[in-house]
C-alpha cells in the first residue's frame, strides 16, 4: 500500500540526512521525498511517499517519531487528503504536433513554455496519478528531459499538523 507521510522537522542542519539515513538503514522504500521550509522558519515540512503493509508503516511512523528532530508526523493517506506533484517535461515538438500538444496540456490544466522553434516545456501540477496520465498522453512525442518534484500534500479536513 502507498502511504504519504507528512513530517514537521526541526529546521536543523543534518535533519534531512537523519530521515533519509533511517530509511536506508532499515530498508524502507522511499518513492519520493520533498522538503522545504514552512511559514514557521524553525520548521521544515517533509513529505515522504512510501509503500509497505500496515506493520511496516507502523514501524516507519514509530521510528520517525524517535528521531529527535521530528516534531510531528501524520500519515495523510489515512484520511481525506490533497496530493500535488509538479512535472516539467521538455519535449521535441514539430509545428504539426503543436496544436495537438496544446489540447492535451489544456485538458490537464497545464501550460506550455516555448523554448525554441522545435522544443517546449510542458508544465503541470496534480496528483502523481494525473502526472502519470499526462506523461502517457505525451507518448507520441520525444521527451528530452523530465523533472518531477515528488509529492507534497495536506489533509483535506480541518485538522492540522502542529509541532
Amino acid at each position: 500500500m502507498r502511504h504519504i507521510i507528512s513530517v514537521l522537522l526541526e529546521n536543523e542542519s543534518g535533519a534531512l540526512s537523519r530521515v533519509s539515513g533511517l530509511f536506508s538503514a532499515r530498508g524502507y522504500n522511499i518513492e519520493s521525498l520533498t522538503v522545504a521550509p514552512t511559514n514557521d522558519p524553525t520548521l521544515s515540512r517533509m513529505t515522504i511517499v512510501t509503500t509497505g503493509d500496515e506493520r511496516r508503516i507502523d514501524q516507519i511512523e514509530k521510528q520517525l517519531n524517535k528521531l529527535v528532530d521530528v516534531a510531528a508526523l501524520k500519515d495523510i493517506t489515512r484520511g481525506g487528503h490533497l496530493e500535488r506533484e509538479i512535472v516539467l517535461a521538455k519535449v521535441i515538438v514539430t509545428s504539426a504536433q503543436k496544436a495537438e500538444l496544446e489540447t492535451i496540456v489544456k485538458a490537464f490544466n497545464g501550460s506550455l513554455i516555448t523554448v525554441s522553434d522545435t522544443q517546449c516545456i510542458v508544465e503541470m501540477s496534480g496528483s502523481s496519478e494525473k502526472v502519470d496520465e499526462l506523461l502517457k498522453s505525451l507518448a507520441s512525442l520525444t521527451i528530452i528531459e523530465l523533472a518531477r518534484s515528488g509529492v507534497t500534500g495536506l489533509s483535506s479536513d480541518e485538522s492540522s499538523l502542529t509541532a
Binding site: 543534518g14 514501524q59 521510528q63 524517535k66 529527535v68 528532530d69 521530528v70 509541532a163
Partner: protein, 572 residues
C-alpha cells in the same frame, strides 16, 4: 562569568555532576585538554585506545546508572570510538561523547584529521550535535545529557570545532532544557493496567519475561514483589540477568539461544507472556514462525517502536517499566483475593519436569579445566557478589549461565552489538566507580587481545580488576558454529602464536598466573582475589572442545533446543 569554549565544556560537565571522563587527547581537543588541566573537579582517565574509552565509560554507566562520558579528538579519535558508541547504542546505555573537530573554516576541506563525526556516528547514536557557536556549548551539553538519560537511554555525541573552544562567551548553565521535538515519555493509562492485571489473574500458563529495560529503570524490587505476589515463573534475558535472583525457586533461568530448556519451553507453551523492558530480539525468540503459538502478549516498554516490531502485542503499554510494575503491584494489591495459585499448579508441575532435565549439565573433569567449572568457582570465591564483565563468545555464555546473579547492574556485557574487546575496558570503568568491590572480567584469549592495551590504564589508575581468561586456543563460539554447521571446517578459528599471558601481564606491571589443572582452580582464584590491590591476570587453560549447550540453532524455535550429547533429555 566569561570563559573560553573549552572551559565551558569542562564546567558544563562539572554542573552535570560528572566525576570521570574517559578519553584520549589529540590536536582538535587540545584546548579542552588544557581546560582539564586548570581544574580538579572532573577527573580525566587516560585510556590507551578510544574504543577503550567508550567501553570504560559504558562499564561505568552500566554499573552506576549514571551516564558515561567520553572525550576524543577528531578523525581517528572519533572513528576509533564508533565501535564503543554502537555497543552502548544497541544496549541502550546512557553516554555522552564529546569529540574535537577541525576548525570551523576548515570543515569540508579534507583537513588533517577531519571526518564527518556527526555523519559517521548517526546510525549508532540516539542524537548528535555539531556545535556552530561558542554560545551554544552549554545548552547543547545540557541537551545531550537530557537526551542520553531520559526515555530509552542511549549515546549522544557532541562534536566541537577547535576554534570554537578557544572563543569566549558568558557561561550560564541552563537548569533545564525544553525540546518540543523530544517530548516526555508516555505514561500508562489506568485502563491498560486493569486489563493487563485481569489477563494475569486468568492465566493458566503465564511467564514473566524481563530484559535490560528493568535494569535500566531500576525496577527490580517491584518486579520481585510482582512475581512473588502472582507466583508466576520468571525468566530474564541476557541483558536482564540479576533482575530476579538466580536462586529463587520462581526463577527459571535465562531464555533464548543459550538459555535454559525450561525457560524456552515455558515461553513456547505459555498462554500469557508478560514482557517487561524486553524487545523480543532474534536471539531470544529463535524463528518467529512458531513463536509461543498460544500466548497472549502483554508488552511493556518505554520505546513505542519495540511494540509490534517482532511480536504483536495484545496488551501494549508504552511507559516507564518501573512505573508500570508499581501500578501492577498496586492493582494486584486491590485484587489479592482474586489470585488463585491452583490455576497455575499444573503449569508449575510441567515446568519442574522440564527443570529436571538440568539443561546446563556438563561433564566434570579432573584432568582438564572446564570453563563452566571456573565460572562456578568464581561465584563461590566471590560469594556471588562480584561485578562481572565479559567479552563476547562462549565465555560470555558460560558467565551468563553459571555465575548466578542476584543483583542488577552487576552483570556487564555487550548483548546487542556483541563487541569483542568490551570486557577489560568496561571492567576498569566499573572498578573506578566501585573501588571496594570485586570486579572480574571473564574473557577469552581472542577477545582479550582486542583491547588488551587497557592493562596499562589499569596500572596507571591503580584499578585491580581480576581477568579470568578462559583460554581454549580457539575462537570458541566460531569453532562451535563451524562444528555444528560447517562440518568441522575450522576456518580461521584457531588462535596460533598466542602471547605468554603471564609474562604479558607482568610486563604491564601486573600479576600473571597460569592454571592448567582443575584441582588448582579454586586455590588460584582465592589467591588472586586475596590480592586486593593487584590486577591479576589468570590464564586458565581450558578444554578446547567444550561447547555451549543447550542451543537454539539458526532457524529453530523455542521447542527445538539442541541438548548436550549424553544429557538427561537424550538418555531418556
Amino acid at each position: 562569568m566569561q570563559l573560553t569554549g573549552a572551559d565551558i565544556v569542562v564546567k558544563s560537565l562539572e554542573k552535570e555532576g560528572v566525576e570521570f571522563v574517559f578519553g584520549y587527547p589529540g590536536g582538535a581537543a587540545l584546548h579542552i585538554y588544557d581546560a582539564f588541566h586548570r581544574q580538579n573537579e572532573v577527573e580525566h582517565i587516560l585510556v590507551r585506545h578510544e574504543q577503550g574509552a567508550t567501553h570504560a565509560a559504558d562499564g561505568y554507566a552500566r554499573s552506576t546508572g549514571k551516564p558515561g562520558v567520553v572525550l576524543v579528538t577528531s578523525g581517528p579519535g572519533i572513528t576509533n570510538a564508533v565501535t564503543g558508541i554502537a555497543t552502548a547504542y544497541m544496549d541502550s546505555i546512557p553516554m555522552v561523547v564529546l569529540s574535537g573537530q577541525v576548525m570551523k573554516p576548515l570543515i569540508g576541506y579534507d583537513a588533517f584529521q577531519e571526518i564527518d563525526a556527526v555523519g559517521i556516528s548517526r546510525p549508532c547514536v540516539k542524537h548528535n550535535f555539531l556545535i556552530q557557536d561558542v554560545e551554544e556549548i552549554a545548552e547543547t551539553i545540557k541537551k545531550a545529557f537530557h537526551i542520553a538519560t531520559t526515555g530509552r537511554p542511549g549515546p549522544v555525541l557532541v562534536d566541537i570545532p577547535k576554534d570554537i573552544t578557544a572563543q569566549v562567551a558568558e557561561f550560564l548553565y541552563p537548569e533545564s532544557v525544553e525540546m518540543r521535538s523530544y517530548p516526555e515519555p508516555a505514561t500508562a493509562q489506568p485502563s491498560e493496567i486493569v486489563t493487563a492485571v485481569e489477563a494475569m489473574l486468568n492465566a493458566k500458563r503465564p511467564v514473566v519475561y524481563t530484559g535490560g529495560g528493568v535494569v535500566l529503570a531500576h525496577a527490580q524490587e517491584g518486579l520481585r514483589d510482582m512475581v512473588k505476589t502472582l507466583g508466576f515463573p520468571c525468566t530474564n534475558t541476557l541483558m536482564g540477568l540479576g533482575a530476579y535472583p538466580h536462586d529463587d525457586p520462581q526463577f527459571i533461568g535465562m531464555l533464548g539461544m543459550h538459555g535454559t530448556y525450561e525457560a524456552n519451553m515455558t515461553m513456547f507453551e505459555s498462554d500469557l507472556i508478560i514482557a517487561l523492558g524486553a524487545r523480543f530480539d532474534d536471539r531470544i525468540t529463535g524463528t518467529l514462525d512458531n513463536f509461543a503459538p498460544n500466548a497472549k502478549v502483554i508488552h511493556v516498554d518505554i520505546d513505542p517502536s519495540v511494540i509490534d516490531k517482532n511480536i504483536k502485542a495484545d496488551i501494549p503499554i508504552v511507559a516507564d517499566v518501573k512505573e508500570v510494575i508499581n501500578a501492577f503491584n498496586a492493582e494486584l494489591g486491590r485484587r489479592r483475593e482474586d489470585i488463585n495459585p491452583s490455576l497455575i499448579a499444573n503449569w508449575w508441575e510441567k515446568i519442574r519436569a522440564w527443570q529436571g532435565l538440568d539443561s546446563f549439565w556438563y561433564e566434570k573433569s579432573d584432568t582438564i579445566i572446564k570453563p563452566q567449572f571456573v565460572v562456578e568457582k568464581l561465584h563461590e570465591v566471590t560469594g556471588g557478589e562480584a561485578y562481572v564483565t565479559s567479552d563476547v563468545g562462549q565465555h560470555q555464555m558460560f558467565a551468563a549461565q553459571f555465575y548466578g546473579f542476584s543483583d542488577t547492574h552487576k552483570w556487564i556485557n555487550s548483548g546487542g552489538l556483541g563487541t569483542m574487546g568490551f570486557g577489560l575496558p568496561s571492567a576498569l570503568g566499573v572498578k573506578i566507580a566501585h573501588r571496594d568491590a570485586d570486579v572480574a572480567c571473564i574473557t577469552g584469549e581472542g577477545s582479550i587481545q582486542m583491547c588488551i592495551q587497557e592493562l596499562a590504564t589499569c596500572k596507571q589508575y591503580d584499578l585491580p580488576v581480576k581477568v579470568i581468561n578462559l583460554n581454549n586456543r580457539y575462537l570458541g563460539m566460531v569453532r562451535q558454529w563451524q562444528e555444528f554447521s560447517y562440518e568441522k571446517r575450522y576456518s580461521n578459528s584457531y588462535m596460533d602464536s598466542l602471547p605468554d599471558f603471564v609474562a604479558l601481564a607482568e610486563a604491564y606491571g601486573h600479576v600473571g598466573m597460569q592454571i592448567d589443572k582443575p584441582g588448582d582452580v579454586e586455590g588460584a582464584l582465592r589467591e588472586a582475589f586475596a590480592m586486593k590491590d593487584r590486577l591479576v591476570f589468570m590464564d586458565f587453560i581450558t578444554d578446547q572442545q567444550e561447547n555451549v549447550y543447550p542451543m537454539i540453532e539458526s532457524g529453530k524455535g523455542h521447542s527445538e533446543m539442541r541438548m548436550r550429547p549424553g544429557s538427561a533429555s537424550l538418555a531418556e
